[in-house]
Amino acid sequence: MSKILKLLRREYRASVRTKGFIIGLALAPILMSGSLIAMALFRGKVDTSDRWIAVVDHSNEVAGVILAAAEARNDQVVYDKEKDKKVKSAYFIEIIDPDTLNPAMLRLQLSDRVRSRDLHAFVEIGSGVLSPQANPEEARITYHAENAAIDEVRGWLSGQINNYLRHVRLTRAGIEEDAVGEMLTWLPVESMGLISRDEETGQVQEAERSSEMEAVLTPIFTMFLMFIMVMMGAVPLLNAVMEEKTQRIAEVILGSVRPFQFMMGKLLGGVAVSLTGLSVYAVLGGIVVYRLDLADKLPLNVLPWIYAYAVLMIFMLGGGLAALGAVCNDAKDAQNLTMPAILPAMIPMFLLVPIIEAPNSAFATTLSLFPPFTPMLMLLRMSAFETIPLWQPWVGLLGVLLFALISVWLGGRIFRVAILMQGQPPKLSLILRWAFRG
């Protein structure tokens, strides 16, 4: 067995045999998709405390309607009668007479009541709400609360007030609302996939509904998966090499192998660790997909590309990270250098939304062909709902391959010199000198 393989084996065992690896394997996807899981877990766990809402109605038209609507809502939806359980907040309306002399003072008093939790919110309805186009300023409806922008009560009030105002406006115009109901019906535009032909039967197949999972979750999941692979296989190299340097293990190893063999053994170990993680996720993911019958919804053709890009990305980043580990003298140096070193894996995360929205835009195409970003962004585009030209993943792969070779070559030059240098601070000028002059 070659010395590189012996180093790989030790590196792999040292990583995979630890409890940390198993825990990390389990926790990484949970942490990465924590918000999604939390939303799913806590769906329905709503705050059911009562809401007291003050209504200041300058139009003298709406307050009573809101009061009646709130009472009706409290009767109908607040309690689940079957389970005998309160499932939603009850809304209690307090009608306040407008203060025409000093409206600002009234608003301040009501705001103070909200701050002291005596009220949940107050709403002020302008005097001209029935004729908003005649005098828009008088037609304003304002909702005041501590979290007004994301408060569900605001949405409920908006619906109640506008439904009533529409009804009044139609009645005053002499139109029966029931007669024009169909005129006011709102129809959604459904999202559907493209039509395809069944390869076996030749029949044209019906398009399927394009789900959020296909459009958004799958690309995000693919990208997170790549990020986890980098964190699992490449990032630990920096600390591992730094420790081997500072604990003088490197000198013992270099008594038996050449620096490049040493670095390659570690890099391949990182790749093996990543591929183990990836395979575990692929198998578990496969079971979930099979159980939930989601195979048709997922771009499974991307899976081999994930393996190819993951391997090259570990080489590309790992070469640099191992070299930087050799430059570091202590944990603080390692901490300082980790963040810039993993920027190629971090920056694509910030570009996620614009690229999912338009995977074939010039912006997305150009960035995904820039080798440091290619593994994550190309896979993001390939997992998105639009089809990208076939040549792009191949060109991207070639670019990453070249970049990985350059990274490993330069990394090896830095590694060779730096691994035995004690006490030299990791300055950029020094790193560049080692990289290009040896």
């Binding site: 012996k6 003088r248 000198e251 013992v252 038996s256 192998v257 050449r258 035995l420």
Partner: protein
């Protein structure tokens, strides 16, 4: 036949010349001691023999082959700073280090050495549970487990208690008896005197001594008097023909100026105090070391340069 041949090797780090035009032959089967003050260039020389550092100029041949980028598996290396993977088990670690040297029959060899160095019961313990002395013995086994023909030991006795130091010394001598060449650096002059066939001293990157202990001592001649004076050092001061008096408590060592008769000096001493022991001797390696690298030599060198 020489196991190591170094010819006109120079190695610099930036502006510092670590090793300057060094030539050295290490005969096969010998124990060669490298001595010199800290920072003199010992470790750099050893690392160049190991091919960890490459010389700026000059050549190094090991087993008759020029070192050109490739590491040789026939060299065992114990670095000055011990480096062991703390989370690995002792047996597993030794096999790994042996495998990196392409060692044969490693399972048996590991067990044999663990037993010989009384570490068998620690074989399945993690390295970070070992004491410092045990770790050092494990590191020593890692150096020899692949049965190398040349062993390079950088400060092998540092930090070892006398019992463990004796164990390592005995193993080194046993390996030499089997034909293994041993190079070791040390600050322990007594150990160097007792163990080494040849002694090499490097000072400020340059070779200042090289040869057998007898050859080296002969260069300095019998210029040392070891005496026991009842009134100690005060009674030995300001004697004609005495360059320096060193007090060892129970014993005083006098360095005499060339051309002076030890008998006349003895007579002068006896006029001052009672002398209970008197010996005309060659200088010890310790004394020679201090003469070359001590403060006096530093001062002399400074004066000569100004």
């Amino acid at each position: 036949m020489n196991t190591v041949e170094i010819r006109n090797v120079t190695k610099t780090f930036g502006d510092v010349v670590a090793v300057d035009d060094l030539s050295l032959d290490v005969p096969q089967g010998s124990i060669y001691g490298f001595i010199g003050p800290n920072g003199a260039g010992k470790t750099t020389t050893l690392r160049m023999i190991m091919n960890i550092f490459y010389p700026d100029s000059g050549t190094i041949h090991v087993f008759g082959n020029r070192l050109q980028g490739a590491c040789t598996d026939a060299i065992g290396y114990l670095p000055e700073e011990r480096g062991l993977y703390k989370k690995m088990k002792v047996r597993e670690l030794l096999r790994f280090y042996g495998e990196l040297k392409n060692g044969r029959d490693l399972k048996r060899e590991v067990n044999r050495w663990l037993e010989k160095l009384s570490l068998l019961e620690w074989a399945d313990k993690k390295v970070d549970t070992l004491s410092k002395g045990m770790s050092q013995k494990v590191q020593f086994i890692a150096t020899i487990v692949s049965n190398p023909d040349l062993i390079i030991l950088d400060e092998p006795f540092t930090g070892l208690d006398p019992v463990n130091a004796d164990v390592i010394r005995e193993v080194v001598l046993e390996l030499q008896a089997r034909g293994t060449t041993v190079i070791f650096s040390t600050h322990d002059m007594n150990m160097a005197e007792r163990m080494c066939d040849f002694i090499f001293m490097i000072y400020k990157g340059r070779k200042v001594l090289d040869g057998t202990l007898t050859d080296i001592q002969n260069e300095y001649g019998s210029d040392t008097l070891r005496v026991r004076a009842e009134d100690g050092v005060p009674a030995l001061q300001n004697l004609a023909g005495v360059e320096k008096v060193t007090d060892f408590g129970q014993l005083q060592e006098l360095r005499i100026t060339q051309g002076h008769d030890p008998q006349q000096i003895l007579a002068a001493m006896m006029a001052n105090t009672r002398i209970t022991s008197f010996e005309v001797a060659k200088p010890s390696l310790h004394d020679i070391f201090v003469r070359i690298a001590g403060p006096e030599a530093e001062e002399k060198s400074r004066v000569e340069n100004t």
